[in-house]
């Protein structure tokens, strides 16, 4: 019997699990597969479009999950996140007061709140020469896009014998390879300025690798996030998972929920399937963090949307014709508001369940694309739901 069973191993579920395990709760995390944060840039967007996330957080309409967390709650959760990442060797830089600019592979600047230390020195508009070092054969990363938009930039290409982000990141863990890489870069006599690279500086020791190369070359280096497979995304996920394991949380990999046992007002247990045999996982309380459509937390039929684990009531625009805006690039399609409505304690509304708490992108009215708040909201609601659950468990 666990104190808490968390369903969904994404950023929100992991943060809720870590917060609860940190409080000495016996937790089990059930994950259908690896989460979407593996595909993300690894940056924590809290609120885009304003110079400070603080200024934006109050903007969305009343139902937005940020209003249930509150400003101090969001600040606390980001600090908690930074603290655990610092302890695990993958430092995050930034604070809720400022949005920072990071360089994208398209040469544009993207605003985000917390960034991995390897992106700290990213281009912020200062008139300093940027030299991009890319890798032969690397797909979906074209330095010419960047130099076409930034006059004061140039690039070179290194042949690493492997041309995938994951293969390159693996190479960078090897000190012999790093020596060859540094020697080659030195021989190129790159003009003074900063060096930018696609985000492949190692899988687990990225900060050390960046610092070592930076010292050798005596200049600042930063990473540019890539399309998936995204290494900063994997680093983020693995570090959080590792932290949870260190705190004694159990993780059940690659398993779907086959059935749910509930009494009048409580979820009693869920059943996961191993081969052909069901394994029953009992808990005193449950967290639902299965994500939105892409992660499988929500499922759309022709005219309706349902929640896949507990069949909770879902809010969505009733007519399919109203799901999408006319223009695809008109961000903020009404269907992006679909999800589970919760009360201030993060319990689902109209479900009459006292031991179930919901967090992450499955929450209704989150409108992640519109507000640029994906990972930030995952962290904030994950911690907030965990706190609420903890108060209830006592």
């Amino acid at each position: 019997m666990y104190d808490v069973v968390i369903i969904g191993g994404g950023l929100s579920g992991l943060m809720a699990s870590i917060w609860l395990a940190d409080r000495g709760k016996k937790t089990a995390l059930i994950s259908k597969g690896d989460p979407m944060c593996c595909l993300s840039t690894g940056c924590i967007d809290v609120f885009g479009g304003t110079s400070s996330p603080l200024k934006g957080i109050e903007k969305p309409p009343r139902g937005h999950p940020y209003h249930f967390v509150g400003l101090e709650g969001i600040r606390d959760s980001l600090n908690f996140f930074k603290k655990i990442m610092a302890g695990s060797g993958l430092n995050y830089i930034g604070d809720i007061e400022t949005n920072r600019g990071i360089l994208t592979p398209l040469g544009t600047i993207k605003a985000t709140c917390l960034v991995p230390q390897t992106m700290e020195a990213a281009y912020t508009g200062a008139d300093e020469y940027i030299h991009i070092v890319s890798f032969k054969g690397l797909k979906d990363f074209y330095p010419a896009y960047i130099t076409s938009k930034n006059e004061n930039a140039g690039y070179s290409v290194f042949d690493a014998g492997i041309s995938t982000t994951i293969g390159l990141a693996t190479r960078f863990e090897d000190t012999t390879f790093r020596r060859e890489f540094v020697a080659k870069l030195k021989s190129w006599e790159i003009p003074n300025g900063r060096i930018a690279m696609p985000a492949v500086l190692g899988l687990s020791s990225s900060v050390e690798i960046m610092e070592a190369i930076s010292k050798e070359l005596d200049r600042k280096i930063f990473e540019i996030p890539t399309l998936p497979p995204s290494i900063p995304g994997i680093r983020l996920f693995r570090r959080l998972k590792y932290t949870l394991q260190q705190k004694g949380g159990d993780i059940y990999w690659g398993r779907d929920i086959a059935s749910v046992e509930r009494s009048d007002t409580q979820i009693e247990a869920v059943t996961i399937v191993t081969g052909s045999r069901p394994t029953r996982v009992e808990g005193r309380a449950f967290v639902l963090a299965t994500g939105s459509f892409v992660s499988g937390g929500l499922y759309a039929l022709r005219e309706s949307v349902y929640e896949t684990v507990f069949n909770l009531p879902v809010i969505f625009p009733k007519k399919r014709a109203k799901w999408f805006n006319e223009d695809f690039f008109d961000i903020g399609h009404p269907i992006e508001k679909a999800g589970i409505r919760v009360d201030r304690s993060f319990r689902p509304r109209h479900a009459n369940l006292e031991n179930l708490f919901v967090c992450g992108s499955i929450l209704a009215f989150s409108d992640i694309m519109k507000y640029g708040c994906g990972n930030g909201m995952a962290i904030a609601t994950g911690v907030a739901a965990a706190k609420s659950l903890d108060r209830w468990l006592g």
Binding site: A28, K32, G33, D34, P35, M36, C38, L39, G161, I162, S163, T164, I166, G167, A169, T170, E173, S204, P228, P229, S230, G233, I234, R238, Y242, Q245, Q246, G248, D250, I251, Y252, W253, G254, R255, D256, I272, V273, T274, G275, S276, R277, T279, V294, S295, G296
Partner: protein
């Protein structure tokens, strides 16, 4: 789930060990669901790179959509090998069980010559790699030992697997005595290879032959109220997943429903209140390398939950790396580079943790990681055995065999 459900998110690619070190392997997404769109039953397979997949099944475990990526690749591998012929190494490794019978019958001689230069040279010629020493064979295998031990209202059949049988029967005996001490009747019936090595070497027919033989034995006991308990996580995955799955055994589902990992079984007994073992202190620092196939079983890490109850035991769960040996995969000369590269990556977090020993449920993982680091290796059950302050004397021998008395490394 079928290949059509793949949305090409690349999470499997992020998690593929072979893809991270071998440029010739296009990764699980391309080798699996993508290429599947172009494979037709009547056409001869052309992509030799499918053979690079080591069947660690990580892709399947991490897929958010439940696509059977590794099974799609396995079927492509079997088809490729059927059409293009088997190598000598394929034949040998598909039949590790028969080789084990021979080797253990002549164990003293085999152990003397198996790691000599001459034999190693011959092995390399027929495509077998020798970068880590071959394991020692034992004459007194589990299959030759007693059939029945202990008494209790609960009864189990012990599926020990080839590695414990031929190479580490001492671990098998320890597991059996742990189970007996928990008040169980333990049957160790005659059994053959689970069939996985044959499957991994593209020989579905041999795999089915092995599986059918085991199925007859296991079902006989299951029908009489016994549960099946396995120690090797790869054998376990084969019984649970492949018997009803790719091998399509009529009794596969029944076996799958009644088969448990040994530590999972102990935890269940404790939860039911059937036993309440007193775990004594074990003063060790353990790097617990999780075998890929344990991850794939989806039962969590039951041994780690037992470790939690052992006083003084320090341990770290390490589950992000595949050891690279992958059963018989790394023993093939053509896979050696991939295997060594992956093995070295897997040793990095272990060396960082600086353990007294490396624990792993899988004999192949232990061989690889012990062989590459020189650190001694231990089966999680041996740690539990030590914690319960047990000795093997209940089985007639007077000698107290300490848990660290033997190792998975052969003599080099």
């Amino acid at each position: 789930m079928k290949f059509e459900h793949c949305i090409r998110c690349t999470i499997c690619v992020e998690n593929c060990p072979v893809f991270s070190v071998e440029p010739k392997f296009p990764g699980p997404k391309q080798a699996g669901p993508d290429a599947q769109r172009f494979r037709m039953d009547g056409e001869v397979s052309v992509d030799s790179w499918v053979l690079f997949c080591n069947q660690c099944k990580r892709c399947e475990t991490v897929c958010p959509y439940g696509v059977d990526v590794s099974e799609i690749i396995l079927k492509a591998q079997i088809k490729y090998v059927e059409e293009h012929g088997r190598s000598i190494a394929n034949y040998m490794f598909a039949n590790t069980y028969n080789i084990g019978i021979l080797a253990s019958a002549f164990a003293p001689i085999v152990n003397k010559i198996i790691n000599t230069h001459l034999v190693k040279n011959i092995m390399r010629v027929i495509g077998i790699s020798t970068y880590i020493p071959f394991p020692r064979y034992h004459a007194f295998t589990l299959s030759k030992g007693r059939r029945k031990a202990g008494k209790g209202s609960k009864k189990v059949v012990f599926f020990y697997g080839c590695y414990l049988n031929f190479n580490r029967p001492d671990i098998g005996r320890k597991i059996r005595s742990i189970l007996v001490s928990m008040g169980l009747e333990v049957i160790t019936p005659h059994q053959v290879c689970c069939g996985l090595p044959a499957l991994g070497n593209g020989d579905l027919d041999s795999a089915r032959r092995f599986a059918n033989k085991n199925a007859g034995i296991l079902v006989h006991y299951i029908n009489r109220g016994y549960d099946v308990v396995y120690a090797c996580t790869s054998c376990g995955l084969t019984l649970v997943r492949d018997y009803p799955g790719i091998m399509t055994l009529p009794d596969g589902k029944k076996i799958s429903e009644n088969t448990y990992n040994v530590h999972e079984y102990i935890l269940n007994l404790m939860e039911e209140g059937y036993v309440n073992p007193e775990f004594g202190p074990v003063d060790m620092r353990i790097a617990y390398h999780i075998p890929c196939h344990l991850r794939s079983l989806g039962i969590g890490y039951p041994a780690a939950r037992l470790f939690e109850m052992i006083p003084d035991l320090q341990y770290q769960v390490l589950d992000d790396n595949c050891c690279g040996l992958s059963g018989t995969y790394g023993f093939k000369e053509k896979n050696k580079d991939v295997s060594v590269k992956l093995g070295k990556l897997a040793t990095l977090p272990i060396l960082e943790y600086a353990p007294d020993a490396i624990a792993s449920d899988c004999g192949a993982c232990r061989m690889q990681l012990g062989g590459l680091t020189g650190i001694s290796t231990i089966d999680p059950s041996e740690i539990i055995f030590r914690s319960l302050n047990m000795s093997l004397s209940v089985f007639g021998g007077k000698k107290n065999i300490s848990a660290g008395g033997q190792d998975d490394k052969g003599d080099d």
